[in-house]
């Protein structure tokens, strides 16, 4: 019956399956494996930086380590995990649909990830690309040509996959909601996916354009970006950042959605300011499209243009601040359950605040002129992407693992994971602010010996980060096989995905689900779905209650 939970045979995860839940888990596991690979590369970077001299890898290999680290973390972990994994798994369940709007397209989008990843990793063994994840020409046109081409092809494949996904998310959210569900009754994760999908659709094609022109320059000897033939390398930067700034919101918006859905459940309080959070996602999406040149304040951008991009960028702090204050107000006065999901969510909020504050700082042109391309920026991106996106994705994993597998993750292991991760993260990345301000540029294999001690602190922090992954991996594998079994709704949550069995049956719901409350109506009619009761019983109980 429905509450029994429907377990998909393991081999189905290796097939071209069109069930959005299978695809979501395929995305999650695949991208997590890439996360581990990206982490190993970062470990190589930090090992090299434990001493000021170049002694662990060659300079060329060092450059390809951070190039692949950045590219993998962004294009094969954060983007596809936030959108592909959580978007696919959650959207149909949250809006009471049976599947995504275009299930085959969905499967195709997923199956583009492994070849894209293989191509990228393969480039390391052919001729390691060394121009950074930004791959600015002319360097990217003269260093490791064949590796660079593989890098370009890989990104074109991954970008296409991302676009296919976005088309699917938008159509599904707009067209497939269960009868009676208005946009304002959707969980906030769906709003954030609308905002992220719009960004993907508008900006990714521009990246594709830049990459194709870059490839022409390399293979056909054209001179779009090559000054030797009269081209302009700065044009590439404009095209690249027209995508890659929105990309940071593509990476954080789904996570904003995850946090907005996890906090209320474990604080037992309605989300504070639903409409403000929903609209601020759209505002961020719109503003995110007109700030790209803040990455180019030292690229010879004219002064007045720098001022425009500075002000536009700073304004993004307003909708972002609205979200942060709303989350804090959500937990304030609640009944906070400090479990792993909650710890990672609160960890997200507090780390993201730091990244947001340093973000406003680097938006300020005179200050950014000093810190651009230094470790200050490395610190900033990690506070938003790691302390932000990664912590949020972990929160989502702890929260929805019972839905996906019918079993809970072990709490003591989860808390150990959080504590190690939190300490390691801050130890690794907080001192980098100081390094950048004092004069250490980024992307260097050797540095001034005066920075040795602080770099060693960072390296020890990265070791802790690596270690923190161990309890998580043990936990995930062990709990999946033999963790504590749960019923349909172990967290007593109110969003629709918890109204069906865990894991949900093939078409999610036995009939079109009925909205028995708003997604965040905690404390209102005191309806608590007991985790052990069958869904049907709960349903009749609650409907009785409502009458």
């Amino acid at each position: 019956m429905a509450n029994q939970g429907h377990h998909t045979p393991w081999w189905k995860y290796f097939t071209f399956n069109t069930d959005h839940k299978v695809i979501g888990i395929q995305y999650l596991v695949t991208t997590f494996i890439f996360y581990l690979i990206g982490g190993v590369l970062a470990g190589g970077v930090r090992t090299e930086l434990a001493t000021p001299e170049v002694d662990f890898v060659s300079r060329e290999i060092y450059n390809s380590l951070f190039t692949l680290h950045g590219t993998i973390m962004i294009f094969l972990w954060i983007v596809p995990a936030g959108t592909g994994a959580f978007g696919n798994y959650l959207i149909p369940l949250m809006i009471g649909a049976r599947d995504m709007a275009f299930p085959r397209l969905n499967a195709i989008a997923f199956w583009m990830i492994p070849p894209g990843g293989a191509l990228l990793i393969g480039s390391f063994f052919v001729e390691p690309p060394q121009a950074g994840w930004t791959s600015y020409p002319p360097l990217s046109e003269i260093a490791s040509n064949s590796g660079q081409i593989m890098w370009i092809l890989s990104l074109l494949i991954l970008g296409t996959s991302s676009i296919l996904g976005a088309v699917n998310f938008l159509t599904t959210i707009l067209k497939m909601r269960t009868p009676g569900m208005t946009l304002y009754q959707m969980p906030l994760f769906c709003w954030s996916m609308i905002a992220a999908s719009i960004l993907i659709l508008i900006s990714t094609p521009v990246l594709a354009g830049a990459l194709i022109l870059l490839m022409f320059d390399i293979v056909a000897g054209t001179a779009f970006f090559n000054p030797t033939g009269g081209g302009d390398p700065v044009v590439y930067q404009h095209m690249f950042w027209f995508y890659s700034h929105p990309a940071v919101y593509i990476m954080i918006l789904p996570v904003f959605g995850i946090i907005s859905d996890v906090l209320p459940v474990h604080a037992r309080k309605p989300i504070f300011g639903y409409t403000a959070i929903a609209y601020s996602s759209l505002a961020i999406s719109f503003l995110g499209l007109v700030v790209w040149a803040h990455h180019m304040f030292t690229s010879g951008t004219p002064g007045w243009l720098r001022m425009f991009f500075m002000i536009a960028t700073m304004i993004i702090a307003v909708p972002t601040g609205i979200k942060i204050f709303s989350w804090v107000a959500t937990v304030w006065g609640g009944k906070i359950e400090l479990n792993s999901a909650m710890l990672f969510s609160l960890g997200f909020v507090s780390m993201f605040v730091i990244g947001g504050l340093s973000g406003v700082m680097v938006a300020s042109v005179p200050f950014d002129i000093h810190v651009h391309d230094t470790y200050f920026v490395v610190a900033h991106i990690h506070y938003v992407l790691f302390g932000g996106s990664v912590f949020g994705l972990y929160a989502g994993i702890y929260h929805w693992f019972p839905k996906m597998t019918g079993r809970k993750l072990n709490e003591p292991l989860g808390i150990t994971h959080f504590v190690l991760n939190f300490i390691g993260f801050n130890m690794c990345f907080l001192p980098m602010h100081w390094l950048g301000l004092q004069g250490m540029p980024r992307r260097v294999a050797e540095y001034d010996p005066q920075f040795t001690f602080v770099n060693q602190i960072c390296s020890v922090g990265s070791l802790l980060l690596a270690i923190s992954t161990v309890p998580f991996l043990i936990n995930a594998i062990w709990s999946w096989i033999g963790g504590k079994q749960v019923g349909a709704n172990p967290w007593r949550a109110l969003t629709l995905e918890w109204q069906t069995a865990s894991p949900p049956p093939e078409e999610n719901f036995l009939e079109n689900p009925v909205l028995w409350s708003g997604p965040y109506d905690y404390g209102i009619d005191n309806v608590h779905r007991d985790s052990d009761k069958p869904v049907e019983e709960l349903l009749s109980e609650v409907q009785g209650n409502a009458r």
């Binding site: 302009d232 390398p233 309605p270 403000a276 030292t298 304004i315 304030w332 006065g333 605040v353």
Partner: protein, 325 residues
């Protein structure tokens, strides 16, 4: 809200403000300020640090207090109060950040203007240099573009408001290449691997690159400008404190990016004149000093490279230079 509670809040607010004000001025995070521009940037940074410290403590404080005060008690399965918004609170926390970022934007604007960032002569398109980039390793000492001061329309940081339109005291053409900086003083023809400038004077650099992107950065001066092959960007500044400071390449430019460093030597105007005379006199003789060369072979061994780098006077003699021309 009862009275003791609001007193506690008030005291917490005052303490938070005091801590922020103190830390904003005393964080000690910046290196020595050695140019006229540096204190401007630092005062801006201090203001941002003050606000950031306050917001940081505020948000983290509320989270920590919430965790302590609102922990779910064992066995309590009830929900919290059904508060789902508060219009006036939301207006306040939309308005306050809006005002704050506008204030920071305005302040940044002021500082940027004071640094010369809005000099109209420095706001045009920087693409005026017909000189073409070369593949690395070739034409190491290609001739510098010959520009008269003020004629070019390079984007970058120009003259500060009081000095707009006036010519700089010292003009230097800067060229970045894999993996060295070459400084040419167009008025005297001096070519050097280290940048000598007189303290207290108005210095203008015309920055370009010959192969890939580089970035010219002096942390103690708080200034940076990308060196872009195919265009020239200007950077005007005023060194103040006598001493040596590092010039660092801040834009990934290849395998040896991390060692693309040299020095700026800020001297008294007299010492600078003396250095200048000596260099003009010796420029006819052999042993001219030039910064390290780009490695001619594609990947020299580290030892080879380092030896070239460590020898203070990266000697390539005039003969080699001539061959390269």
């Amino acid at each position: 809200m009862n009275i003791p509670n609001s007193i506690v809040t008030l005291i917490a607010g005052i303490v938070l403000t005091l801590i922020s004000l103190w830390y904003g001025q005393n964080h000690g995070l910046m290196p020595v300020a050695a140019s006229e521009e540096a204190p401007l940037v630092d005062s801006l940074f201090n203001a941002m640090m003050t606000i950031a410290t306050g917001l940081f403590i505020l948000v983290q404080g509320i989270i920590v207090i919430a965790i302590i005060r609102f922990r779910r008690r064992r066995g309590d399965t009830s929900d919290g109060p059904p508060i789902d918004g508060n219009l006036s609170l939301e207006i306040v926390w939309t308005a306050i950040p809006t005002i704050m970022v506008l204030a920071i934007a305005l302040y940044s604007f002021e500082i940027y203007n004071a640094m010369g960032g809005l000099d109209s002569a420095a706001s045009g398109s920087g693409r005026n240099n017909p000189e073409l980039a070369q593949k690395p390793g070739s034409a190491i000492a290609a001739p510098m573009p010959k520009e008269r001061d003020g004629e070019d329309l390079a984007a970058g940081v120009g003259a500060s408001p009081g000095r707009e339109g006036s010519a700089a005291d010292v003009v230097v053409d800067v060229k970045g290449m894999q993996y060295a900086w070459i400084f040419t003083y167009p008025d005297s023809g001096i070519v050097a691997g280290e940048l000598h400038v007189p303290a207290g004077k108005d210095i203008k650099l015309n920055i370009t690159a010959s192969d890939v992107l580089h970035a010219f950065w002096i942390p103690q001066f708080r200034i940076k400008q990308d060196a872009i092959p195919g265009s020239t960007n200007q950077l005007r500044f005023h060194p103040q404190k006598i001493g040596d400071y590092p010039i660092i390449c801040a834009e990934l430019c290849g395998a040896y990016h991390g060692v693309m460093k040299t020095r700026i030597i800020v001297e008294s105007p007299e010492e600078f004149q003396q250095w200048r005379q000596e260099r003009i006199a010796s420029s006819e003789t052999d042993n001219n000093q030039l910064s390290m060369l780009a490695p001619s072979e594609k990947t020299p061994s580290d030892a080879e490279y380092a030896s070239r780098y460590v020898e203070e006077k990266m000697g390539i003699d005039q003969q080699v230079l001539q061959q390269l021309h």
